[in-house]
Amino acid sequence: MSKVWLGAFALATAYAAGPARIQFPTDIAAAGSFPAKWIAGSPSAMDNQDPPIQVHWYNPHTAILRENKAYNFEAAFMYLYFGNDRAILLDQGSTALPNFWPLRKTVDDAIASWCARNGRKFEDYELVLAFSHLHGDHWAAENQFVDRRHTRIMGLSLAQMVAFWGIEHYPEEQIAFDLGGRKLLIWGSPGHVDEEFAYYDTYTQILFTGDMFYRGRCYITYWDKWFASMQRLIRFVDTHPVKWVVGCHVEISRTGQDYTYGMTYQPDEAPVNMEVATLRRAFDVAKTITKPGIYFTGEVYLCNQTRGSITMDANPYAY
């Protein structure tokens, strides 16, 4: 149902009189850039002077947001894609209260600036809130948007998430979602949890893999589901142009050092964006894994059925 409704809405908007439509070509990846260094915490967290959320414009129609580690150590990355008719915000961070962590205001400011640049009316522009998966560090600030006009918000259960995209055969089915000339491809990607999606943006050719695959510790709760999701991702990158694979966190240094779960300072953090080759190498390693344990692919850690509360740290004082 919702696909039909969305299609009708898109058509209606397309034919309505309005500003010139932006073209989002898909033949080559839209140009864009990542910052040389993201905000990555500070030696003393209470003395951190960075903004609560770093807003980086990857290109004029794509913003990437990062949560400050001094507000929450999860330091989640969030992706804000703009289309002619609506924007989508993938993930809503780890901190719920707006007076602690102003996601709504930051996103509204970003949308207002985009609308001003592109001749849209902020009041009429739609926002869609979706998230990668059902963990609290990916939707915590969702409630900051509940009273926002022209905003649709994904529900917090697998049934609601699947219905939100109109997916009938989860996780295999792939659907397309139109932001107005800019198309996203969405399909199920469970394994880290039961409820997770992968999001591919046809304009930037960025593949967002949530917590199922990112530069850090991929906590794999269900190996078989995760491996099947990896196979789906590999099939996808075999058949579609992918410029970058991005995740929700970075938990590793440029030299491969693991930043322990809970750290509030990552001075030599590796970049969030990964080459497709990183995904392929991880898949090659995954094919050899038969037992629970922690496996390093050279770029990411695959934590197969290890408890999330266990770290790789040893007792440095043992003698």
Binding site: P43, S44, A45, M46, D47, N48, P52, N68, A70, Y71, N72, F73, E74, S94, T95, L97, F100, W101, H135, G136, D137, D211, Y219, T260, Y261, G262, M263, T264, R307, G308, S309, I310, T311, M312, D313, A314, N315, Y317, A318, Y319
Partner: protein, 348 residues
């Protein structure tokens, strides 16, 4: 109060008879007494102004003090934390407990300042070297100045000791005291540190650190044990040494009055047998700092069970690990004699 007077002992108030006469009469009698008291205090102050006051730290029982409050325990967002960088609590007039703000360093360690007639002792120095983040030296200086003004003792010599020279959660603030005048920065090689009537015993306790040391303050009846025994993560570095040291500490406890075991950190929750994750910086349900001396028996028995094994055992007041990482857990670690814990959802 002259040179032979005893220290004020708050515990004695417990045995004083309560005044249950009508409030009005009590007030009247108070007024009369207060005139006499005030005059006496004025004469006393006039006579002894600027003179040094000597305190007798030889007490029959541990001196009384107060820890009835909640430690600063972090905040949802570290960047918005407005708690003091060093929380200072006066246990009694001659004993101060300081806690490092958890938003400066996740270990939020405790340090102790003890005053005597001829010297002060700082046990442990916290986890951060930079004074602008963690002004331990300035805090200690202010406390010594204030205390010295009251007792007529300027420039009380300070000794700084560590429960372990290698423990990064307790040795970082040490750097702030380098070059401080009138200060002794030595690992104690003596069996005792005499602060002038207040004697602190040094007990070698290797086990969680090769150079581990505990301190016993007879005046308060405190055993300062760092991370050797604390309401938190006890990570054994050498189980043979740990067992020897805990036996030594128990023998010491049995022959000396010990009121509390005062560790250097808290990782446990108020719920028995539940620990906080190591790097979490918001701990609203922390265990209290002070432990009953009987905890040493539990620690000894637990260490005995862990001897030679790579494992974790979680007890009501501590989580002890041997030959595994500091975050090692496994299902079913909670012992059967601990009460059940309500299940709460994981974040990730």
């Amino acid at each position: 109060m002259g040179s032979s007077s005893t220290a004020p002992c708050l515990g004695e108030a417990d045995s004083a008879t309560l005044d249950i006469r009508p409030r009005r009469r009590f007030r009247l009698s108070c007024r009369k007494e207060s005139f006499v008291l005030k005059t006496a205090m004025f004469l006393f102050c006039a006579a002894f102004a600027g003179a040094e006051i000597r305190t007798n730290y030889e007490v029959a029982q541990p001196a009384s003090g107060d820890l009835r409050f909640k430690w600063i325990y972090g905040s949802v967002c570290n960047a918005l934390n407005r708690d003091p960088r060093v929380q200072v609590v006066m246990y009694n007039e001659d004993t101060y407990v300081m806690r490092q703000n958890i938003a400066v360093h996740h270990s939020a360690p405790f340090t102790y300042l003890l005053m005597g007639n001829s010297g002060a002792l700082l046990i442990d120095t916290g986890a951060t070297a930079e004074a602008r983040y963690y002004p331990l030296r300035a805090t200690v200086d202010a406390l010594l100045k204030h205390w010295g003004d009251l007792r007529g003792k300027a420039d009380l010599p300070l000794t700084v000791v560590l429960t372990s020279g290698e423990n990064l959660y307790q040795n970082q603030g040490y750097a702030q005291f380098r070059g401080r005048p009138n200060t002794r920065l030595v690992p104690p090689d003596a069996a005792e540190i005499d602060l002038g009537g207040r004697v602190v015993t040094v007990i070698p306790t290797p086990g969680t650190h090769k150079d581990g040391v505990s301190f016993y303050d007879r005046y308060d009846g405190f055993l300062f044990t760092g991370d050797f025994v604390c309401p938190g993560r006890i990570t054994i570095a050498n189980d043979v040494d740990y067992l020897k040291s805990i036996a030594r500490l128990r023998a010491f406890r049995d022959s000396h009055p010990v009121k509390w075991v005062m560790g250097g950190q808290i990782d446990m929750q108020f719920l028995p047998g539940v620990e906080y994750m190591r790097l979490i910086t918001y701990k609203p349900m922390e265990h209290v700092l002070q432990l009953d001396p009987a905890v040493l028996d539990d620690a000894a028995a637990t260490a005995e069970r862990l001897k030679g094994k790579a494992d974790v055992i979680i007890r009501a007041e501590f989580a002890m690990r041997n030959r595994v990482g500091p975050d090692f857990r496994k299902p079913g670690t909670r012992e059967a004699d601990l009460p059940p814990v309500p299940v709460v959802g994981m974040l990730r």
